[in-house]
């Protein structure tokens, strides 16, 4: 049963990408609706299968790691697969209505969309370094294509900048992979984990290279400069995909590397250093978000800030007691999920608002609260999660990270967590403030169709509800993983 599910998960997006290449935007939309329904059903089924039976290793087509593709199907991976299905479906549905079907280049949206989805599933499930690399490249290239889809010169410039950053990041990562391969002759993470004994300088360099490359792709401060232009200029459903999911993929790989190898190859300096960069991202990104005159730039810089929290994983899991490390991991996972939902909601809502006021400027929002309360409300709800106020998923994440910081005696991260929330409130309330201003009594706004308005609301409510059901979600994430199966992959 699970085999079929996994096959469906990986091959549907690839098949759909190829098929939709043959079709125009409108026909591609019909096809994609079907594809999204399949993906949603398969992801849900797999999630429940793992919840019932626990995680497992799976060698695709029976070929083992050095030649074939080994997949690691655990609670964390299937949760992210499900998250991708939710956010991807929301963005796909929104894009189907939002994008202007008459532009000739829009027909490339669906192929790129499906390649992106395939790459994401590949990253969540990948168990060896090379296949992770391939999936990551697939993601980067299709993401760059999606950014360039706007067609204007500015979009092309941002896409090009994104492409250079992504390629540089991939190169650094690939160098690290090569070093590992040279030393161990395998790329399977599980096998490397077993063979690795101590911190050899070459391997430390390899880890550093990989982390640096992945940090560049994740847009960690100070390597974030490519993100705001790309996420700001892309069409809103694309921005939602990029901020919600794409940057999480490279972080996910970095986190997996750190959790497997960090205890032997890492050092307190590295752990604290990553944390400091994350903290700087939180503060600096939030401040820049507050200063932006354009709505989507505010949301894009907010991503830079929210990504910063994720890198607190490094100091909070290094050389600390097992329960503390667990708290931090749970907190970071919740942060990834809640940010994906909230940020996608926020970008989609921002897209609706921009459509309505026909301008990207924050100042243009005056009066929106009077005539278009619904999209603004979705935007606000998503903002509550970003601020980390209860009962949202963002709050649950912040609470766990606070507990982890306090329990490990690293009180300086407490300051960052609390300050970050205040700064997030500052940039979100700046938008409210602009929209509550009453300037005229006439409604000359464009009112988007209800389907466009409903999608961000659903995502925002999911982000909100995540905080209330955090305990059951975390219990699936923590499901025991069948390590016995890992032995079978051993060459």
């Amino acid at each position: 049963m699970s085999q079929w599910l996994i096959a469906g998960l990986l091959f549907t997006p690839l098949a759909w990408a190829a098929l939709s290449l043959l079709l125009g935007f409108r026909q591609g939309r019909w096809l994609s609706w079907l594809g999204m329904a399949i993906q949603m059903a398969v992801s849900l089924a797999l999630w429940f299968a793992v919840m019932e039976g626990g995680g497992f290793y799976y060698a695709l087509g029976g070929w083992n790691a050095p030649l074939g593709i080994a997949l690691r199907v655990d609670g964390l991976a299937v949760t992210f697969v499900l998250l991708t299905a939710a956010v991807g479906t929301a963005c796909g549905l929104h894009a189907g209505v939002y994008l202007d079907a008459d532009k000739p280049w829009q027909r490339y949206f669906w192929p790129l969309f499906w390649f992106l989805w395939a790459g994401l599933n590949g990253v969540w499930l990948g168990a060896d370094l090379f296949n992770l690399y391939v999936s990551l490249e697939l993601i980067s290239l299709s993401a760059v294509g999606l950014v360039a889809l706007g067609g204007e010169a500015a979009a092309l410039r941002a896409a090009l900048r994104y492409l250079f950053a992504a390629l540089l990041g991939s190169l650094a990562y690939l160098l690290g992979v090569a070093l590992f391969y040279g030393r161990f002759g395998t790329l399977s993470l599980a096998v490397i984990d077993q063979l690795l004994v101590g911190g050899e300088p070459a391997l430390i360099v390899a880890l550093l290279l990989m982390l640096a490359g992945l940090a560049l792709k994740t847009a960690l401060f100070p390597l974030h400069a490519w993100l705001p232009p790309a996420h700001g200029i892309a069409r809103s459903p694309v921005s939602a995909l990029l901020s919600g999911l794409v940057i999480k993929a490279s972080f996910y790989i970095a986190a997996r590397l750190w959790m497997e190898l960090g205890d032997r190859l890492g050092s307190p300096w590295l752990a604290q250093g990553m944390g400091v960069l994350g903290a700087a991202a939180v503060i600096w990104g939030s401040w820049l978000a507050f200063c932006q005159p354009h709505l989507k730039q505010v949301v894009a810089y907010s991503s830079v800030a929210q990504i910063g929290y994720l890198f607190l994983l490094f100091p909070l899991t290094f050389a600390v007691a097992e329960p503390v490390s667990l708290l931090a991991q749970q907190g970071i996972t919740l942060q990834v999920i809640s940010h994906a939902l909230a940020k996608a909601a926020m970008f989609l809502a921002a897209g609706n608002l921009i459509l309505s006021v026909r301008s990207n400027r924050v100042k243009a929002l005056a009066g929106v609260s009077h005539f278009l309360p619904f999209s603004l409300f979705s935007f606000g709800l998503a903002g509550v999660s970003l601020m980390g106020l209860p009962p949202t998923g963002g709050f649950a994440a912040k609470w766990l990270l606070l507990q982890a910081s306090l329990a490990s005696g690293q009180w300086w991260w407490v300051v960052v967590l609390l300050l970050g929330g205040v700064l997030a409130a500052a940039y979100v309330f700046r938008i409210y403030r602009a929209s509550f201003l009453e300037v005229s009594n006439s409604d000359d706004f464009y009112h988007p169709p209800q389907s466009l308005e409903a999608i961000p609301m659903i995502l925002a409510l999911l982000a909100l509800g995540l905080g209330l059901v955090a305990e059951p979600v975390l219990s699936v994430l923590a499901l025991p993983f069948e390590v016995v199966a890992a032995e079978a992959v051993h060459p």
Partner: protein, 498 residues
């Protein structure tokens, strides 16, 4: 699920669902919205009444589930919770009636009443919260749902006030979160318990516990309007009158004061807090805030601004009562939670009536308004007399009990503060009363509106009259079994004699 678990959830849901329904209704369906509002308010009042009776009988209403590893979401009704829940359920009904009249013909009513209901849902959550974590959850929800009400008018001035409101309250929320997370790291998930949790705790922890106490009080003090973090309260008076009533009497400042009561009694325990020496500085701060608010109120020309400084002063009576180490002082503080609410809401209703009917916002424009609006002015006068502490009105009961409590705790200086504060109350309130009744009308009213036979709209007139009746009754009948005073005694008996 048993009835005991169901009722707290229903109390919460009644206004939460009302909010959802109201948001979903189109802007133009005013009648239906009013109906939903009133039904929800009546339903909630009924639920709270049943629960209050149940708590009196000793029935345990509680429900909880694990929200995060090691943290429970917990609702529980104890006697203290019902004091606050009863206050907000009762005054919500009246404020809703008032708001319907007040906002007639104004835009954005759907948004207003939606957030209004969310606000009351949060207040209910704050009252029924069974641990600090749940309390914090609703405390922040209250902050967020009041913001759209404060900036409701959408003017530059309202937005400025909203900005300051949010800076103060979210700032306070962050400080409070720090305290709660710290305490959780130290002692785990602590449910509110009448005797507190730390009696006989390890002396090595006392240093940290003292610090945490300061952090918690600092966070809660923002909403309670304690000096020096009271700055948002006078500014927020640009909001419509029903919102001011909500901020000052029903929800926001009360949430802060209620939180302080919870921390002192149900987390630390009054004996332990006293032994750590935490109560004395808090008493001084409260006393200072009482006098400071009154002195500032003296010089305010804007009527609502004067009332706002008066709130700063009056809320600290509650804190002062809490810090008087002894059962009588506690009774005084708790009963004032209710008394202040009834009196202050009357004053704000009346101020709103003057503004809506005559267009009057300043104290010096009120000359002779008593003849034009006798019923409103009578209500205003009685509420003022209550505030000053004239027997047998509500304020007198508070001040009497507080004074007795101070003597019992041998803190004689508190008597001096009470006397001084009463004098100051008289000094800033009585001139208004004089102007209302005895000064001749000098100029035409700035913007007079006629509402038919009555002096103002019936929706606006009845709520202050009802609250005036209440403030007389709670004073006159203070000694009977179902007065707020008796309920406060019940709480204290359960607190001090476990």
């Amino acid at each position: 699920m048993s009835a005991g678990a169901l009722l707290p959830i229903l109390a919460l849901l009644s206004s939460l669902l009302a909010a959802v329904v109201i948001f979903a209704l189109p802007e133009t369906s005013h009648r239906l919205r009013t109906l939903v509002n009133l039904l929800a308010a009546l339903l909630k009042l009924g639920i709270v009444a049943v629960m209050t009776w149940g708590v009196f009988q000793g029935i345990d209403f509680s429900v909880s589930f694990t929200m995060l590893p090691g943290v429970r979401f917990m609702l529980r009704a104890d006697a203290l919770a019902m004091l606050f829940a009863g206050l907000s359920a009762l005054l919500w009904l009246l404020t809703t009636i008032y708001a319907v009249g007040y906002l007639e013909d104004s835009p954005n009513r759907s948004r207003f009443f939606g957030f209004f209901s969310l606000c009351v849902a949060s207040t209910m959550g704050i009252a029924l919260a069974g641990n600090l974590f749940t309390f914090f959850l609703f405390y922040e929800m209250l902050t967020l749902s009041t913001y759209p009400l404060v900036v409701h008018r959408g003017t530059e001035k309202a937005l400025q006030a909203g900005r300051n409101y949010i800076i103060y309250t979210l700032g306070g929320g962050v400080v409070l979160l720090l305290g709660i997370a710290w305490l959780h790291g130290l002692a785990g998930d602590l449910a509110f318990r009448e005797t507190g949790h730390f009696q006989g705790s390890d002396p090595a922890l006392h240093g940290q516990l003292t610090l945490i106490f300061v952090v918690l009080i600092a966070g809660l003090g923002v909403k309670a309007g304690m000096f020096p973090v009271h700055g948002w309260l006078p500014q927020a008076m640009v909001a419509p009158a029903p919102v001011s009533a909500l901020l000052h009497a029903v929800a926001v400042v009360k949430a802060g004061a209620f939180g302080i009561v919870r921390v002192v009694y149900d987390i630390y325990g009054i004996d332990f807090a006293f032994a750590l020496g935490l109560l004395q500085p808090l008493a001084w701060l409260a006393a200072f805030t009482i006098l400071y608010g009154s002195v500032r109120a003296l010089t305010q020309i804007d009527l609502k601004r004067r009332l706002a400084f008066s709130t700063i002063s009056q809320v600290s009576y509650i804190i002062l009562g809490v810090t008087l180490f002894g059962p009588i002082g506690t009774v005084g503080g708790l009963v004032h939670l209710l008394h202040q609410g009834i009196m202050k809401i009357t004053l704000f209703f009346c101020a709103g009536n003057y503004a809506e009917t005559l267009g009057v916002h300043r104290v010096d424009e009120l000359d002779g308004a008593g003849a034009r609006m006798p019923a409103t002015s009578a209500a205003f006068t009685l509420a003022v007399l209550g505030m000053i502490g004239v027997p047998p009105l509500a304020g007198f009961v508070t001040k009497w009990v507080l004074g007795t409590g101070a003597l019992a705790a041998s803190m004689e200086w508190v008597i001096l503060v009470l006397l001084l504060s009463s004098l100051l109350n008289a000094a800033y309130f009585l001139p208004i009363v004089y102007r209302l009744w005895f000064s001749p009308v000098v100029a035409p009213w700035p913007a007079e509106r006629r509402w038919g036979r009555l002096e103002t709209s019936a929706w606006l007139l009845w709520p202050p009259l009802v609250t005036t009746l209440m403030l007389i009754l709670v004073g006159l009948l203070a000694a009977t079994a179902f007065s707020p005073l008796s309920w406060a005694r019940l709480i204290v008996v359960r607190m001090y004699l476990p």
